[in-house]
């Protein structure tokens, strides 16, 4: 009886095993077919579907398909390039990137995400700090953009046709601007600005850099003498006001850094206290949430601080300007971090157009050749490019002539923070000269004297004023010697400069105008 029960069980077990094996054989076939279909289908899609050439999400041109030659195959370059091209231009790339970000969120507890290196908080040596904050440091090509655009560089980028200048440079600008801060820690999660998600870049700062910056500006004042007012305005960035408390210790105080700079002058430079003016309005939309720049409203309060210093009353931001908006702006902080919360919180980019009359002239930074007149606001920008609207980004030397009659001409030395600020000046000065510290390739002191400028303003954000490569630019323009050009070139430069001062208005002819 017992025995047969045992046997019965064994038989049952055997039967179950048999059934299982049979089913398992079916499973294996189905699985093989499924896997093969998946890789063949995916393979076909990857081979046949159109490949994107630019990524809107990251705002960059994707890797190009390399051409196959015997030479580059043997060197292995073809394979490297092709592999890069193949994965970089994958169809539905942006969708896949979004999926990947979403997957990354599932990897753990939603906690503050830092991107990049967190800058070492201010020290007195400065050395370990400034390496973390290259304002113009890493351009995609790996070379210093300061060098690229200097006049002695004969291999500088060939001139694009005038009509395309602005669009061309916009893209370049975008890439550069991201690179500017790409080595800093960015905090995204749990940062809120104006009730919405935001990113904030942590500030490092270095007293050594600050001192050097202050001393160089003092040198300008000394060289320019009493006839020219030299103003210096270092503006705080969003980290100063919007960094959540728990991250404070990763970020140095920009206020301290600015105070240090303002107390380190060796000549009669006039400090502009933009800090107080801006910090009184932190509940207003004065910084971009998804970008490392301020908003134009923030720039307005800096302008208000300047007005105070030169004894003027600024127009009212809410009533005296034409207020316009662009929807769907997602800026550089997103491009750098790819953080999905930023992408999902686009901002409304607001800009303020002065109502007064003015004309804007553009010149090549390298040759000072006239590019004709153009708009001050390039309003056809969209998406992540909105900040590039002012002055058509940084790439051209700009002069604005207003219809005021104050007898004052101002020259502004700036990096990209200055762009949003410049338009306000049309209500305060007869002529406004805009020089980007990173690109100008002339002796700035001589230039200022030659143009008969009465007021000089250095306008930089706290990061820039603490960054050696930018300060190098200020020094470069100060020490730049015509002697390094040959006599023919010097004559050319002088001729261009003369053209600018005397016949600026006449250069405005239809063939030569910067079109939108």
């Amino acid at each position: 009886m017992k025995k047969s029960k045992k046997r019965l069980l064994a038989e049952k077990e055997q039967a179950a095993e048999k059934v299982y094996q049979k089913r398992h054989a079916v499973y294996q076939r189905v699985w093989i077919v499924m896997f093969l279909s998946v890789i063949f289908f995916t393979g076909l899609c990857l081979a046949l579907l159109n490949r994107p050439t630019v990524s809107e999400r990251e705002n960059r041109t994707l890797t190009e398909k390399p051409e196959l030659t015997a030479e580059n195959y043997i060197s292995g370059e073809f394979a490297d390039q092709y592999t890069k091209y193949f994965s970089d231009t994958i169809p539905f790339r942006d969708t896949l990137l979004n999926l990947s970000s979403a997957f990354n969120k599932l990897k753990g507890i939603d906690s503050p995400t830092f991107y990049g290196n967190v800058a070492v908080v201010a020290d007195d040596q400065g050395n370990s700090v400034e390496t973390n904050i290259p304002v113009t440091g890493t351009e995609p090509t790996g070379t210093d953009p300061l060098v690229i655009t200097r006049p002695e560089d004969d291999n500088a980028v060939t001139e694009p046709p005038v009509t395309e200048t602005v669009t061309e440079t916009e893209e370049e600008e975008e890439v550069k601007d991201i690179a500017e801060f790409s080595h800093n820690g960015i905090v995204v999660d749990s940062v809120k600005m104006y009730g919405d998600n935001a990113g904030v870049m942590l500030f490092g700062g270095s007293k050594t850099c600050g001192t050097r910056y202050a001393e160089l500006i003092s040198d300008y004042k000394t060289a320019l003498g009493d006839e020219v007012n030299v103003y210096n305005m270092v503006v705080p960035t969003s980290a100063e006001f919007y960094l959540p408390k728990k991250f404070r210790r990763f970020s140095a105080s920009e206020k301290d850094s600015i105070d240090h700079i303002y107390s380190s002058y060796t000549a009669d430079v006039i400090p502009i206290d933009a800090y107080s003016e801006i910090s009184a309005h932190t509940d207003e939309y004065i910084y971009l949430r998804t970008d490392h720049h301020w908003s134009q409203r923030g720039a307005y309060y800096a302008y208000a601080a300047l007005c105070k210093a030169i004894g003027q009353t600024p127009p009212d931001i809410d009533s005296d300007y034409e207020t316009l908006t662009k929807e769907g702006f997602v800026g550089s902080l997103y491009t750098y971090t790819n953080d999905i919360t930023l992408k999902n919180s686009p901002e409304i980019f607001t800009y303020y157009k002065p109502k007064s009359e003015y004309t804007t002239y553009y010149y090549d930074y390298k040759t000072l050749e006239s590019k004709g007149t153009g708009p001050l606001f390039y309003e056809n920008v969209s998406g992540g490019n909105c900040y590039g609207m002012f002055l058509g980004a940084d790439a051209l030397h700009t002069k604005i002539v207003t219809e005021l009659n104050t007898g004052r001409k101002i020259c502004v030395f700036k990096e990209s923070y200055g762009n949003a600020f410049i338009p306000f000046l049309v209500d305060s000065f007869d002529e406004i000269y805009v020089i980007d510290i990173r690109y100008f390739g002339r002796n700035a002191v001589e230039y200022i004297k030659e143009m008969g400028i009465t007021d000089v303003l250095f306008l930089n954000n706290a990061f820039a004023a603490n960054t050696n490569s930018l300060i190098d630019g200020i020094e470069y323009m100060y020490t730049y010697d015509y002697g390094t050009l040959d006599s023919e070139e010097v004559a050319e430069v002088r001729q261009y400069m003369a053209t600018m001062t005397t016949a600026a208005e006449t250069t405005d002819n239809a063939d030569n105008s910067v079109s939108q």
């Binding site: 499973y27 699985w31 896997f35 753990g108 503050p112």
Partner: protein, 471 residues
């Protein structure tokens, strides 16, 4: 080319499979496999194909020579020639930079330091070549008559780049004749996807954080950062390397080859001795059978033999002092264990052994990670909490938190938990009504999910470092 690459997975592999199964008989399949392997190897570094071909021709003739002079004293010449040439190739392409720098330092000369771009997989195929010649000499394998047969053995793309180190005797019969069974093809796919997931989803994620935590200037930011960095690096190494081996073994199965296992849950070991029986098994057994035993093994000057073997094991992993240190570190541990520690550990509760091994391995990987001695020292003292390093810091906490689930999963997957789950599934499928359909569906969805996530992660261009380039 590497396996964790979209081009490989979705273009190279399908096209290869079509051609491979279009070829009817084994010899034709072999030709297909050779062509694809050479293309695979030449992708990126075509010049080094010549080196591979040279090595294969040379050892093919060595094999023939030994076979012809079987039982004569002359036969040993073939072995000597093969070892000399293969080791010289390794010395020149992998170690010449280190050697010259060393000589320069010792004799204060300034000889130009050669800067070869190390050919991929060179450490693996030169060793395989040696196993062939030695196996033939020992009579453990018959010399390959056809050159193509030998070239296939050496160049097979599954294991060419990162092992396992397959001995000639293990695959010699399959080179001549093999068949692919449906069950094995199916298992091979599963193995391939699991390996891919280990590499792309686990190893890459662990590696990205480990590099951030260990890529410090001067000092790690906290004790936590140093420990977490090294632990995550340990996880990365295991999943990277074993994932790659899984993929090789899986693709081998899909083509009818049976490669030996290379990893057997090394982190659950209870002694360094056991660890080395579970970690990179094909390398450990290579050194055992082709170096340790010929040197005399346990029989004479065992300590010296162990020292030599562990020096070489360390050196094999890279041309840098820290790898030698790392090898010797394990050599010392093994000797201590042999002398008395193993016995002591056996008398203690199990967890003591686990704890000891884990800590020993983690310190080992710390040595392995840092090629720069001063940074290694900084990490070491931070791990011990010296120099007033803070216990923890917000940044590290936030990094660990944001990958917490994945890290926990990775730690869990270092144990045979996957096997337990899969056995459990097997039981359910067999004994429960309707269980089979459910288990099969879950399995397929899981594997396809892993494939899909790996694809997404690779296409997003996430961190995808290739650790074997140094080996």
């Amino acid at each position: 080319m590497v396996f964790s690459d979209i081009f490989f997975l979705f273009e190279f592999l399908p096209i290869f499979l079509v051609c491979y199964f279009a070829a009817s008989k084994t010899p034709a399949k072999n030709i297909v496999l050779i062509c694809f392997s050479l293309f695979f190897y030449s992708w990126g570094e075509p010049v080094w194909v010549c080196l591979l071909l040279f090595s294969s021709v040379f050892d093919y003739f060595n094999g023939r020579f030994i076979a012809e002079h079987k039982d004569e004293k002359k036969a040993v010449l073939g072995v000597i020639a093969s070892c000399t040439v293969n080791l010289s190739i390794l010395a020149v392409f992998k170690y010449s930079g280190m050697l010259v720098t060393g000589i320069n330092g010792l004799l204060s000369l300034s000889l130009p330091v050669p800067d070869f771009h190390m050919p991929i997989g060179i450490s693996f195929y030169t060793f395989q070549s040696i196993t062939y010649v030695v196996d033939v000499y020992r009579g453990q394998a018959r010399a390959q008559k056809k050159y193509l047969g030998y070239l296939l053995y050496l160049s097979m793309f599954f294991q060419l780049v990162a092992g396992p180190i397959v001995r000639y005797s293990a695959v010699s019969r399959e080179i001549e004749n093999r068949s692919v069974k449906i069950a094995e093809f199916s298992d091979g796919i599963t193995r391939l996807i699991m390996g891919l997931g280990k590499k792309v989803l686990l190893a890459n994620s662990m590696g990205a954080i480990a590099d951030e935590l260990l890529g410090f200037d001067g000092m790690p930011s906290s004790v936590l950062a140093a420990w977490a960095g090294v632990i995550l690096y340990s996880l990365q190494l295991y999943f990277d390397f074993s994932g790659y081996s899984d993929m090789a073994i899986g693709m081998g199965l899909m083509c009818g080859f049976h490669f030996p296992e290379n990893f057997n849950y090394p982190y659950i070991s209870r002694s360094a001795t056991e660890f080395w029986r579970r970690w990179h098994i094909s390398l450990g057994s290579f050194f055992r059978d082709y170096l340790y035993i010929p040197l005399g093994g346990n029989r004479r000057h065992q300590l010296l033999n162990l020292a030599i073997v562990w020096f070489c094991t360390g050196l094999w992993h890279g041309a840098s002092t820290n790898f030698i240190l790392w090898g010797l570190y394990f050599g010392v541990l093994l000797i201590i264990e042999k002398k008395f520690l193993l016995k002591v550990l056996e008398s203690l509760p199990k967890f003591v052994g686990h704890l000891y091994l884990i800590i020993a391995v983690i310190f080992g990987w710390m040595i392995f990670y840092f090629t720069d001695m001063s940074r290694m020292g900084a990490c070491f003292s931070a791990m011990l909490g010296k120099n007033g390093t803070e216990l923890t810091d917000l940044l590290t906490q936030s990094k660990l938190q944001s990958s917490l689930w994945l890290i926990m999963a990775a730690i869990l997957l270092c144990t045979p938990v996957y096997k337990a789950v899969s056995d459990f599934g097997h039981r359910i499928a067999k004994n429960t009504k309707g269980g089979f359909a459910v288990v099969s569906a879950v399995k397929m969805i899981f594997l396809l999910g892993v494939l899909f996530l790996s694809f997404v992660s690779l296409s997003a261009g996430n961190y995808n470092a290739f650790l074997y380039f140094r080996f």
